[in-house]
């Protein structure tokens, strides 16, 4: 395995991320608006399905973390298309580096940037008065975040490998990412869905990612964290392998 290649691809992502300050602000704005307005707007309402002593902002924080991870990771995977558009993908593909190393470089880069954004959101949440139920489980929560991010980087790569250019971007956005987001129970407990919709929600890997974060951060979840961990671990593995496979198959020129 060519670790230098993975490292240099990761380093490139970091430099690009660091230099695109406006992009960071843009990427953080939406989850923070959701957190602030939904949180403050619904905080005094009784949301059915929440256990006693958990207010809505507290419930919302893990959901918004999941949202941020979903969006930034899928975009990270899709950003292969930008490289295709600007020609840089050819420079990467013609290098004597295995396709696996290229995929891993992009995934480590994507996971890192998604995680940095999640940490920033968590910071704002702490300022808003959010407190995790236990600081000890925070490390495990970060592991969850890595797996959520890897899952959707894989998804982004799958779409990027099947698409020629950025034209299908809004379709992916409206018909894939938003449904995943709304089905996941980021904003409300999935138990409130009618049965058929709940079944769909349970097919959504993000449901388990967010439920796992809730188990670890606010001690209020549908499933225990090991169950959630099992599902998200499998989904991350499957998505990354599938994304890598399809990326390998696609021709660069």
């Amino acid at each position: 395995m060519n670790f230098i290649a993975i490292y240099v691809l990761w380093l490139r992502e970091m430099k690009r991320f660091w230099r695109a300050k406006s992009r960071i602000v843009g990427a953080l704005a939406m989850p923070l608006f959701f957190l602030a307005f939904l949180g403050l707007g619904f905080n005094r309402m009784g949301i059915p399905g929440l256990s006693q002593g958990v207010n809505y902002i507290t419930f919302l924080v893990p959901g918004i973390l999941g949202m941020s991870l979903l969006f930034s990771s899928t975009f990270g995977g899709l950003s292969v298309l930008w490289d295709k558009e600007f020609g840089f993908l050819k420079e990467i593909m013609v290098a004597p580096v295995s396709r696996i190393a290229i995929v891993l470089g992009r995934i480590t880069g994507g996971v890192t940037t998604a995680l940095i954004q999640a940490v920033m959101i968590l910071g704002v949440a702490l300022l808003m008065g959010f407190r995790p139920s236990s600081w000890l489980t925070l490390g495990l929560a970060f592991f969850f975040m890595i797996l959520i991010s890897a899952t959707f980087l894989g998804l982004g790569l799958i779409f990027a490998s099947r698409m020629k250019d950025m034209q299908g971007f809004s379709i992916v956005m409206n018909f894939v990412i938003f449904p995943i987001f709304f089905l996941s129970g980021a904003l409300y407990p999935v138990e409130n869905f009618p049965v058929w919709l709940r079944l769909l929600a349970y097919l959504d890997p993000l449901t388990y990612g967010i439920d796992g974060l809730r188990a670890l951060l606010i001690n209020n979840s549908s499933f225990s964290w090991p169950v959630n961990l099992g599902v998200i671990l499998v989904s991350a593995t499957v998505m990354v392998i599938l994304g890598a496979y399809l990326f390998e198959k696609s021709e660069a020129a």
Partner: protein, 333 residues
Amino acid sequence: MEEAIVVRNLTKKFGELVAVDDLSFSVKQGELFGFLGPNGAGKTTTINILATLLRPSGGEAWVAGYEVTRHPHEVRRHIGIVFQEIALDSKLTGQENLEFHAMMYGLSKQARQARIQEVLQLVNLIEKRNVLVENYSGGMKRRLEIARGLIHQPRVLFLDEPTLGLDAQTRRHIWEYIQRLNIEEGVTIILTTHYMEEADNLCHRVAIMDQGKFVALDTPSRLKDILGGDVVTLELEPFFSPEVSLRFESLSWIKTVKKHENSLILTMEKAERRIPELIHLAEVNGSRVVSVHLHKPSLEDVFLHFTGRRIREEEASWQERNRARLRHHFRRR
């Protein structure tokens, strides 16, 4: 290994379209070899196959001693390529783009620093090394790409339309760099172009390509010799003194004599040195020369000779074809 590239019966089809049609040729180590032809002739497709970015539909190709479909990894290690479109990361500096490349090719830190310094010097970009590429001019981007293609000391360097869209002055500079690195680094260079002067000035041998095939392959001067040398058109007054054309026909260094309205069209070698003599001979034989027109054959004429079309005309119709194809493509979606 004396041959840098050996190609046998190479074919590439995109659905119905045969982009590369049963090509066979070889390129020697250290040669500067050019593909000349209109857009859509198959030049870029051929290069992309040789650079392992596309899989051929048939045939074999060895680059630096390795077969492109069986050992793509080894081929990649030994080639450098400058793509037709800019392939730099504009959010990185020139230096960072080169570092990225050097690390991808597994150069050690020391080798990296030395080599980057060297290639930046070769293309005169030392002072701009820490500027973001998005602030580079078109010519600077090209030079940086050529430098990048050289970092890992490839045996073969592919340049796909290296001066496309550049102004005349920048183009001349790029030509100088290409010549210099061919001599100084001894690297085999394969370039594609649809500029005649480029192929003529730079290349040791030129393959004229049309519709996926070679119509001719030789040195530029020998290709032009096929046309029988320079063409001199003499407008005479009074027309027509038969002695003049008889006298010209009797001379061994004049290859052909044709009459056209009140002019004589002659072909010969080194015509610029013969013009005074032609004028003198015409006057001695009773005709006065009113005007002289000398045309040195270009590779454009060679293309015309072989295909019956001009490269520029071909370009317009290619663009139309391409537009039609795009329309078709979008309808299908």
